[in-house]
Symmetry: none
Amino acid sequence: MDKRNKILLVEDDESLGYLLSEYLKIKDFDVSWAKNGEIALKNLENHNFHLVVLDVMLPDIDGFNLAKKIKIENPKTPFIFLTARSLKVDVLKGFSLGAMDYLKKPIDEEELVTRIEVLISRLHPSDIEQDLQKEIHQIGAYVFDSKNQKLIFENEETVLTARENELLLYLLKNRNQLCAHKDILDLLWGKNDYFNRKSLNVFISRLRKYLKSDPTIKIRNLHKKGFVLRVED
Amino acid sequence: MDKRNKILLVEDDESLGYLLSEYLKIKDFDVSWAKNGEIALKNLENHNFHLVVLDVMLPDIDGFNLAKKIKIENPKTPFIFLTARSLKVDVLKGFSLGAMDYLKKPIDEEELVTRIEVLISRLHPSDIEQDLQKEIHQIGAYVFDSKNQKLIFENEETVLTARENELLLYLLKNRNQLCAHKDILDLLWGKNDYFNRKSLNVFISRLRKYLKSDPTIKIRNLHKKGFVLRVED
DNA sequence: GAAAAAGATTAATGAAAGGTTAATCAGATT
DNA sequence: AATCTGATTAACCTTTCATTAATCTTTTTC
């Protein structure tokens, strides 16, 4: 599993974009370089980034509008703005100031890396939250033994494959909550593309089949977003 | 009552200290200038500062050690470090990263002011901004769960589409304020033309239908301008 | 106060996304 | 080499939802 921090670099200038993306890769970030706003948005739909580095001057869309759009869909992702002119604070105030920084051009790459690291470390104050992994779970009328990859309904038991087991565990951990395609695919498949998304559908379908003996258990789809596991009363 | 923000400037260099303190006074800060660590500590005992601007290189005491001392007594006060060398992040990590910034010399006074304002405003996040961080909102008698794209009224819940969700979130973010067609279309549709404006109307209509169980919630149209979401009492 | 423009509402449409089952393929195991 | 296992890909069908159209209502302007 790739532990590197994923950064989206939005920069239309070829040479600066190349320079920064290469430098950040050397510094062990997983960099995606979007050369315009449209590509940036597409990237954001399909991946979870830890941070966005955004040039304010873009050819197709104003950098601030792009930032606003990102904030609506992904309110916690921190930004670093790259700007030619010095910004007035009131322009920045529309954003969550706790998760924002800016750098004036010309960009000092080392400075950028430092600020990226500060912002990212601010996100993970401490990783205590990992809740204890129980091994026996209850899902409606089923018993789910994740350690032994078994799903038990009355006297019938289904042995799950590793993937089915992981997926069900993930859905269960986030029950009643949207589990975004991109989150699931990032975590379990490691790659988010057309085929893996198709594959995920096959697995969801299979889980539904396994779970159909209890009709209160629903794996619902949120169009273009992901799935929600819920047990209705 | 003096409403100005009180800043402690710790800087041993005469000319830089004078320059910065005068500049900050012009920018309407209440500046105390301490020329060494001892004076700085004495100042901190007797006053509450909103922010400390601290040169890392001081004659009598290392700036970081001073900072640590201040943090013990006044853990919430944000810092800005002025530094000649570029800092390694791990040096900074000892501090509350949420309340810290740094500037490399030579200092650009305007830049300093901007960063001071950002840090101070981070201490007083506006109500609207705080609301937006949340994912569960209240609209009249409804609960709006934007993360899961749900609108809940009593025991009835409506699942929203992505567009409906974005639009409602935008209106809510700007509640009681005009949301211009132009802004909405630019932001959510990316293009402002006849057809998209028609499309927006369809969505507004749909949101009204979803929200009609609470008659105090109104999405009003301002002719040729845009829409306003408001909850009347 | 009538014509024109803008807005509201409901319904129809079509492309894209999702669901399901079956076929294939790759790696492990006998 | 044959078999088994489990993920991926393919084929085909269904659902979803933004757009467009059609029709009616309100507002503005002269």
